[in-house]
Amino acid sequence: MSVRHKSFWSTGEPFVWLTGGALTLALLLVVGLITLIVWNGMGFFWPRQVIRLTLADGSVMTGEIVDREPLPGKRNEYRIKLKVANRDLYGADFQWVDESRIVKRDRPADVAVIERTEWGLLIGSLKEVRDGDKAIAVGGASAWAEVQKRMDETERVRRQIRAIEKVEIGAINARQEALRLKLRGFELRGITSGPEIEATQKQLAPLREKYQALTARLAELRKGQSLTLVVTADGGKEKDIPLAQVLDVRFPNAMGFAAKCVFYLAHVWEFIAGEPREANTEGGVFPAIFGTILMVILMSIVVTPLGVLAAFYLREYARQGAFVSAVRIAVNNLAGVPSIVFGVFGLGFFIYGVGGAIDRLFFAEALPTPTFGTGGILWASLTLALLTVPVVIVATEEGLAAIPGGMREASLALSATKLETTLRVVLPAVMPSILTGLILAMARAAGEVAPLMITGVVKLAPSLPIDGQWPFFHLERKFMHLGFQIYDTGFQSPNVDAARPMVFATTLLLLAIVVFLNLFAIATRNRLRRKYATSAV
C-alpha cells in the first residue's frame, strides 16, 4: 500500500464512516417506517373527492380512487381501484377498472357520501325524504335541507335509545343476573324454599315491571323515527335507508378546505373516542385504547414491586455466592423465553389453576360458566408482568450496583439499621434505574400480542373492564387491545380492503400511545436523576 493509503486506514477514519453509515441506515429505516405509518394513518380521515367514471359501454361508476397500478403483464396500461361502497347494493365495495375503458371522468358536486350504522358507506345522489309512503321533500336540494333539519333530532334520539339499552336495561339485567346467582347459591347449599328464597324472588317482580316499561319507551322512540331517505346510486338502483341509521352526509366535491379540516378533526376524534362498527372496519377504537392502557397500568402496578423487591434481595440481602449467581443467570434467561410460552403458562396456572380455584370458592353459583376461570384483563396483566419482570430486576440491580458502598457505610455509621439505610438512602438513589426498568417493561408489554390472545383479548368486547356498575372494577372481563386489533383487522377481516386504512391508523395510534407512555416515564426519571444525582450515576 502507498503511504497515503496506509495513513488513511490508520487514522481510524474508515471506522468512523462505517459506524456513522450504519447509524444513518438505522435512522432512515425507522424514519421511513414511521413516515409510512403516519402518511397512511393520518391520511385515512381526509375526505377524498368522489369521481364519476363514464365507461365505454355507457355504464357509470361513482366512487373514491384508492389505488392505481399497472395491469399485470402489460407495462403501459394501468387500472384504478375504485371504492364504490354500497356493499348492500353491489356486493363488492371495491372494484378495479381498466383505464382504457374510461371515456369520461368528472366530479359532480351533488354526489353524496353517507355514513351509516350498518353496511358501510353509501355513495349516490339524494332523491327524496319519505315518511312511510308520503314524500316530504322531493329533489336533491330540498332533501338535503330536510336531512340537515332532522339530523340533530335523530342524533339525540339515537343517543337516548342507546342510553336506555346500555345503561338502564343493562343495569336491570345485571341485577337480575345477581339475583339469579343468589338463588342458585341457595340451591347449592340445599335451601330450596323458605323466607330467603321468597324475599329474593320478590325482588324479581319490580325488575320485570321496569324492564317492560323501558321496552315500551324504546318502542315509542323507535316509532317516532319513521323517516327514510331515498338515495339513487349507479345503474338506477335506489336505496331506502331509515334516517335513524344515517350518521353523516357529506358532499366531498363541494367541500372547501376549511370544511374538510373540520371533517378531518371530527373523524379523528371519533376514531379515538368512538366505538367500533362493521366488524371493526369503521368507527372508533376507544375500547381497544382503554383496554391497552388499563392493561399496561395493571401490569406496571404488579411488576414494579415484584421486580424491585427481587432485585433488592439479590443485591443487598442475599449472601453473594454460587446460588445467587445461578438465580441471577436464571432471571436473565427468563427474558429470552418466547412470549407465547408465557401465554400458555398464564393459561394453565392463572386461568385454570388460580382462576378455577377462585371460581370454586367464591363464584360457585355461576358455574359451569367461569367467572375468573377464563381469560380476562387481570390474568392478561399478570402474565405480561411475569414476562417483563426480568427486565425490571436487571435494570434495578444495575442501579444498585452503581451506588457506592461508602454511602451505605455512612448511613450505618450514623446509627441507621440496614432497613432504614435501604429505605432512606438506597431506594431514592436507585429510583432512576427502577424507572428505566419500568420504561423497558411498558414498551415490551404494549407491543406483545401473542400471550394476550390466549389470556383474555377478544375481537369485540361488549363492555369495558371499568364501568358504572358496582363494583366498578370488573377485572374478570375480557378486553380489547390495540395490538390485537391490528392483527385482527388487518388479517382476519372479511373485507381486507375496507380494513386496511384502519390498520394503519390503529398502528399509528399504538405507536403514539407507547411513545407517550415512554416520554412520561423518561421525564419523571430525568427529574429524579437531577434530584438524586450521585457521582457514580
Binding site: 455512612a410 448511613s411 450514623l414
Partner: protein, 272 residues
C-alpha cells in the same frame, strides 16, 4: 467508668506511660483479629483518654483502619472475621451480645477517608442522623443542623444554600459536611479514618483546626499516615506495625524520644 483507673493492670509497661492521670474512654484489651486465616491484629492493648485526640500512625496495611472499624463494629459488615479480646467504650463492652449495634453507633461516630455525602440536600445530610433517632419537629432539626454546621466551621459558607445538593460542594467542604453529619447525633467518640488524605493542604489545615476545637466536646481517634499531622493535632499517638501496637504514648514524647527502635526508624523515615 471510675475516674482513677488502675491502668497499669492489663497494659504493657513500655507502652502505657502518660495515660495514667486521664479518664479512659476507650479501652482495648488483648484484641486479636483474623480475616479468615490471616491475622490482622495481634494482642493489641491500649487505652484512649476522654476529650483527647489519639492518633494512630504506621505504614499501609498495618491494621490501623481495621482497629478503628472494630470500635464501632463496622467490621460486622465483613464476612469471615474472627476476634478475641475485648473493647470497652465508656465502660460498656462493645461486643456484648446484648449490646444494640445501632445504639453503639450513636455513641461512636465515624468519618471516612473518602467523603460520602448522601445525594440529598445539605440540610437533609446533616439532619439524617437526628431523623433516624426520631427527631421530627422541623425547628428542632433546624437547630441541630445549625449547631452541627457551626461546629464543623461550615455554617458561614453554606447557610444560604442549605437546600442545594451536597454533591455540589468542594472536597474539603464535603468532608466537613461529613464531620457535621457525624456530630449531629452527639456521639461520645468520633472516629476519623484518614480524613484528610484526599484533601489539599488548605482544606487539611481547616479540618485540623476543627479537630482541635471539637476536642473539648468529643473524644477523637484519628488514623493517619501523615506523621506531621499526628504530631500537630494529637495528644497521644500509637505506632502500629504489622498488626501490633509497637508503642503508645504522649505525642511529644513519642516523636522526640521514642522508646522502641522500630518507632524511631519509622519516624525518621528509614522505612514506611
Amino acid at each position: 467508668m471510675a475516674g482513677s483507673v488502675s491502668v497499669t493492670a492489663g497494659l504493657h509497661a513500655p507502652t502505657s506511660q502518660g495515660t495514667m492521670m486521664e479518664t479512659a474512654m476507650v479501652e482495648i484489651e488483648q484484641l486479636n483479629l483474623w480475616y479468615g486465616l490471616k491475622q490482622a491484629l495481634t494482642d493489641v492493648t491500649m487505652s484512649m483518654p476522654k476529650h483527647r485526640i489519639t492518633a494512630y500512625i504506621g505504614p499501609s496495611g498495618c491494621g490501623k483502619s481495621t482497629l478503628l472499624r472494630c470500635l464501632n463494629r463496622m467490621n460486622d459488615l465483613v464476612d469471615g472475621i474472627r476476634m478475641t479480646g475485648s473493647i470497652r467504650i465508656g465502660g460498656v463492652d462493645v461486643y456484648d451480645p446484648g449490646q444494640d449495634v445501632t445504639e453503639l453507633r450513636k455513641r461512636v461516630g465515624m468519618v471516612f477517608q473518602k467523603s460520602n455525602p448522601f445525594p440529598k440536600s445539605i440540610f437533609e445530610n446533616v439532619a439524617y442522623g437526628p431523623r433516624i433517632l426520631g427527631v421530627t419537629n422541623r425547628s428542632d432539626l433546624e437547630g441541630i443542623v445549625e449547631r452541627s454546621l457551626r461546629a464543623a466551621a461550615l455554617w458561614d459558607e453554606v447557610h444560604d444554600r442549605l437546600q442545594e445538593s451536597a454533591l455540589g460542594m468542594s472536597g474539603g467542604q464535603q468532608q466537613r459536611l461529613c464531620i457535621a453529619r457525624a456530630i449531629a447525633v452527639e456521639p461520645d467518640v468520633l472516629l476519623m479514618d484518614e480524613p484528610c488524605s484526599a484533601l489539599d493542604p488548605i482544606a487539611t489545615a481547616k479540618i485540623e483546626e476543627l479537630m482541635l476545637e471539637l476536642k473539648d466536646s468529643y473524644t477523637i481517634v484519628i488514623v493517619t499516615h501523615n506523621m506531621q499531622q499526628a504530631a500537630r493535632v494529637s495528644d497521644y499517638t500509637g505506632f502500629m506495625l504489622l498488626g501490633e501496637l509497637v508503642e503508645f504514648g504522649v505525642t511529644r514524647e513519642l516523636f522526640t524520644n521514642p522508646r522502641n527502635k522500630k518507632t524511631e526508624d519509622y519516624i525518621t523515615g528509614r522505612f514506611g
